[in-house]
């Protein structure tokens, strides 16, 4: 049960990363739990914890479509820097969520799930419905783009 509670807390964080909006994340979280409760009451409870993340993912994408859309631009990429951790420490969780939620899907889902540090590689592939090389490329590009953004936000003179 403690594990399931932890999973549900992570589910909220996942929604938050996908939407960068606490109120919307809460809404999706509640909707997902309501559906799980309904299914459980009908004798068809979710088969595993991944169900919650798959369900929440589609709800988040749906909610995201109704709000402001990010422009489809090719982001700059930088090599990962040894000082990146110190740059990241300067961020607020909200800033990271804004950055992730601005990514196009499935990269958005891949990054949000990956940085929850909750899943193994197979689980990530299952929820994102990606092939191993696709997932790998999206994560690799995501890191480099994030590094470029970090470098732009916190130029090396400030780190």
């Amino acid at each position: 049960m403690a594990e399931e509670k932890q999973d549900l807390l992570q589910l909220y964080r996942f929604c938050f990363l996908m939407l960068a909006d606490a109120a919307k994340a809460e809404e999706v979280f509640h909707a997902t739990l309501r559906q799980a409760a309904q299914q459980a009451a009908n004798g068809e409870p979710p088969r595993d914890r991944l169900w919650f993340f798959r369900n929440a993912r589609w709800r988040c994408l749906e909610a995201g479509e109704r709000s402001l859309q990010a422009e489809d631009v090719k982001l700059a990429q930088d090599e990962l820097a040894a000082w990146a951790p110190s740059q990241i420490k300067k961020l607020e969780p909200q800033q990271l969520a804004v950055w992730i939620s601005g990514a196009p899907d499935p990269q958005r889902t891949a990054l949000a799930l990956f940085y929850l540090d909750e899943f193994n590689y197979r689980d990530l592939l299952s929820v994102t419905e990606l092939k191993p090389l696709e997932l790998s490329k999206l994560l690799c590009d995501g890191r480099r783009q994030f590094q470029a953004w970090l470098d732009a936000t916190f130029p090396s003179t400030q780190t």
Binding site: H30, A40, P45, R47, A84, L91, P93, L139
Partner: protein, 246 residues
């Protein structure tokens, strides 16, 4: 490329290909930087505050169906594996015994003994008789008073080289015939009898036996068993008995 998906925590690495990729990548500086980057990002994610409404909403009972172990997991359990193997062995032995029992027929021990006799018989031990095997029924009756010692129609047309009548170790009168074709030998012997009633134990059709590279097919008729024996396998005799003759 797989190392880009490397989980931040070591215990999440449960894929063989990924483990191998990580083993190679661990020595590189780039991977160390990636791991530090990921750890920092994860720490930031874990710092996302959880609103009180969310904590309050988390149910006390589980919504997730209890995990059903699939058959592969059951099969990997040593206890189930051992039981499965034991059941399999018992089943194989039972099937083997059942098949053996189904092939058993009254008079089988005598037939097996006579197969041994066939393997040690030389043509010169028999009285030369050149005729059709089917004609020997009258010969056995006229000369040795052996009733119903008839060669079945399936083998009646084969040409004989010789024959004899001898008493086996149980004192039963056995007719032995040597034929030209495939150096085949025929044996005619009394069918097994019920010790209480004295009646011959009948069985229908042809039954086959194999022993030490000799094969025989046996048929019971009117209280007498006929066996055709050949050095080889049951396949050598199959063509003769596959089409019944009138």
């Amino acid at each position: 490329m797989l190392v880009h998906c490397a989980p931040i925590r070591e215990e999440r690495v449960d894929d063989r290909a990924l483990r191998m990729a990580l083993h190679r990548a661990r020595k590189t500086e780039a991977f160390a930087i990636q791991q530090d980057f990921d750890k920092a990002a994860t720490a930031l994610v874990q710092a996302i505050p959880i609103p009180q409404e969310i904590t309050d909403w988390i149910p006390t009972d589980t919504f997730i169906a209890p995990t059903r172990r699939d058959w592969k997991k059951y099969a990997q359990n040593p206890a189930f594996l051992a039981t499965g193997i034991a059941v399999l062995v018992i089943a194989v032995v039972a099937i083997f015994q059942l098949v053996e029992r189904m092939n058993r027929f009254p008079g089988e021990p005598t037939a097996r003994r006579l197969l041994t006799t066939a393997s040690s018989t030389h043509a010169i031990m028999l009285d030369p008789v050149k005729t059709d095997a089917g004609a020997l029924g009258d010969f056995f009756f006229m000369k040795h008073r052996l009733v119903h010692y008839d060669v079945p129609p399936e083998f009646a047309e084969l040409k004989t080289l010789g024959c004899r009548v001898f008493d086996d170790e149980e004192g039963q009168r056995v007719g032995q015939v040597w034929v030209v074709e495939k150096k085949m030998q025929f044996f005619l012997f009394p069918a097994e009898r019920d010790p209480k009633t004295g009646k011959a134990r009948e069985f229908s059709g042809w039954r086959s036996i194999e022993q030490e590279r000799w094969a025989g097919v046996v048929k019971e008729q009117s209280g007498v068993c006929f066996m055709a024996a050949v050095h080889g396998s049951a396949k050598d005799l199959a063509p003769y008995i596959s089409k019944p003759k009138g």
